[in-house]
């Protein structure tokens, strides 16, 4: 996807509280996911064969909306109405209002469990192709509920599940070696640059069978 187009569209979203640092930290990961990795069809948002993406850290969704808009899930005219009365694009995404949004999120620490349930449900239906990708922030991992799912997913052998941690070093508590921590819980985890599209595309490619994968996308820079 055209990164400059994403930036342009995200800049149209001028609400009172954009969580800009959070939004721009996810921009490259989202560009690679929706440009090169996820199989989605804007004409059929509910296509059973689609990949599922859950933005667990629902705040700062301007880049998410920009990517969905660029893929054609909704018109550009929605973007300037971000966080205003009557517009579907709120400060946190709502699955009942925005095509392409799989889960309503905002309160931190919910997306991983939703993703585990979704991955289990796909497996229960015998649908093997679609994968589930969930994105959390580093500070979001302060929430204990995440660690329940981080413990659970490998033990369920969910090889259709990928966790992307966008690590923009916003956590007050030290989370050094997130990939090491995730690896200790049984995830196939690796840390890469969160701005390197080639590295992201490689890391987010279909993982080998056996268990869930995690990609820690490091974002050391400041907001654009």
């Amino acid at each position: 996807m055209d990164r400059q187009e994403i930036v342009r569209l995200a800049a149209l979203a001028t609400g009172d509280e954009k969580h800009e640092a959070s939004s721009y930290s996810t921009l490259d990961v989202l560009a690679v996911l929706y440009g090169e990795v996820l199989r989605v069809d804007p004409a059929r948002p509910d296509w059973p064969g689609r990949d599922r993406f859950i933005l667990s850290k629902g705040h700062g969704p301007a880049a998410f909306y920009a990517v969905l808009c660029l893929r054609g899930f909704f018109p550009e005219t929605w973007m300037p109405g971000f966080m205003t009365w009557g517009n579907p694009l709120g400060g946190h995404p709502d699955r009942t209002l925005v095509p392409g949004v799989e889960a309503s999120t905002g309160s931190l620490g919910h997306g991983l469990a939703l993703a585990v349930g979704t991955a289990l449900a796909l497996r229960a239906k015998g649908i093997v192709e679609p994968r589930v990708v969930v994105l959390t922030g580093d500070a979001e991992l302060n929430e204990g509920s995440n660690w329940e799912s981080i413990l659970l997913a490998p033990q369920l052998g969910l090889d259709n599940l990928t966790l992307v941690v966008v690590d923009n070093h916003s956590s007050t508590l030290s989370l050094t070696s997130l990939d090491g921590k995730l690896g200790a819980f049984g995830w196939d985890a690796r840390a890469i640059s969160g701005r390197d599209h080639g590295a992201l595309a490689g890391a987010l490619a279909r993982p080998p069978a056996g268990g869930p994968t995690a990609v820690v996308a490091d974002i050391p820079d400041v907001p654009e």
């Binding site: 905002g106 919910h110 229960a124 509920s145 413990l151």
Partner: protein, 297 residues
């Protein structure tokens, strides 16, 4: 002695599970052994996540997002209070149907102390818009209510207690029935309070009404069975007054007085059986009789 309501709930869910591929079950270490038939039938649609109540609800919501009707089950305080935000956001706000079965309401685990008390579970669940709350009073009612509701797409909390009534009563979702004719005072018993209400009022001139639903109650049915009633006394197995938002609007245009009998809203520190708690709180038959007679006086 019939089976417990908890065991009946598991048996009924297992039977529904075996006939409906849309049903998924998510457990959090409680009652796992009761669900052995479901694990044997299709282990892909049932999972025990371990001691993770918040994750249990989130995982159930994930199943619901994929079109399943999930059933999640554990002990009432850990489902309705610890995981309340997951119930609210993952299920309620996302407009997803599910059946949440909490066992051990009020003081079933009274000997365990305050951490395991759950007199406020129904009130907590009713903060979620659209939540249906079922409070069966007998294992047969558990079966009836689950068969009538599982899979209908409505977010539902079924609240179970260890003690149940000697006999089942008519108990469809939202139903309110008149079980005994009487004067201008009606006593509305909820779920497991019916048996002791019938005993307490055996020689009193009161109507006895019954519902196994805490919300939403069929208001028209309540108005019909309460025709001519000037005083309505609710007898609730949870915090007193939990039913007020259901019954008061139904009779708002009538000169009715209300009395809400239930678990008082104070911290209960004593250890003891459910029966000891009921006696101490005036919720056994003798205590109810004294309270109701006082209203009639």
């Amino acid at each position: 002695m019939s089976v417990t309501m908890r065991r009946q709930a598991a048996d009924t869910v297992c039977d529904l599970f075996s006939h409906d591929d849309r049903i998924a079950v998510v457990l959090s270490e409680i009652s796992v052994e009761y669900f052995a038939p479901a694990f044997a039938h299709d282990p892909g649609r049932i999972v025990n996540v371990g001691i993770m109540e918040a994750t249990m609800v989130g995982v159930a919501a994930g199943f619901a997002m994929e079109g399943f009707h999930p059933v999640a089950h554990t002990i009432a305080p850990f489902l309705a209070e610890r995981a309340l935000e997951q119930v609210k956001l993952d299920l309620g706000n996302q407009e997803l149907g599910a059946t949440l079965i909490g066992t051990g309401g009020s003081f079933d685990y009274g000997v365990e102390g305050t951490t395991h008390h759950a007199p406020g579970d129904v009130q907590a669940m009713l903060t979620i818009p659209g939540m249906r709350v079922l409070v069966p009073g007998h294992p047969a009612e558990v079966d009836t209510l689950l068969r009538a509701t599982v899979g209908d797409g409505v977010l539902t909390y079924m609240r179970l207690q260890a003690v149940h009534n000697p006999e089942p009563a008519p108990a469809g979702p939202a139903q309110v029935r008149s079980l005994r004719a009487g004067g201008e005072t009606a006593v509305l018993a909820i779920g497991p309070m019916l048996g002791r209400v019938l005993e307490a009022t055996a020689d009193l001139d009161v109507r006895v009404l019954y519902t196994a639903t805490a919300a939403p109650i069929d208001r028209r049915a309540l108005r019909e069975v309460a025709a001519g009633v000037t005083r309505l006394i609710t007898v609730e197995p949870f915090h007193e007054g939990t039913l007020a938002p259901q019954v008061v609007p139904a009779l708002a245009d009538r000169p009715a007085r209300f009395e809400f009998i239930g678990v008082p809203r104070r911290l209960v520190r004593e250890y003891g059986s459910p029966q000891e708690h009921d006696r101490a709180l005036g919720l056994d038959a003798a205590g109810l009789r004294a309270r109701i007679a006082g209203v009639l006086a």
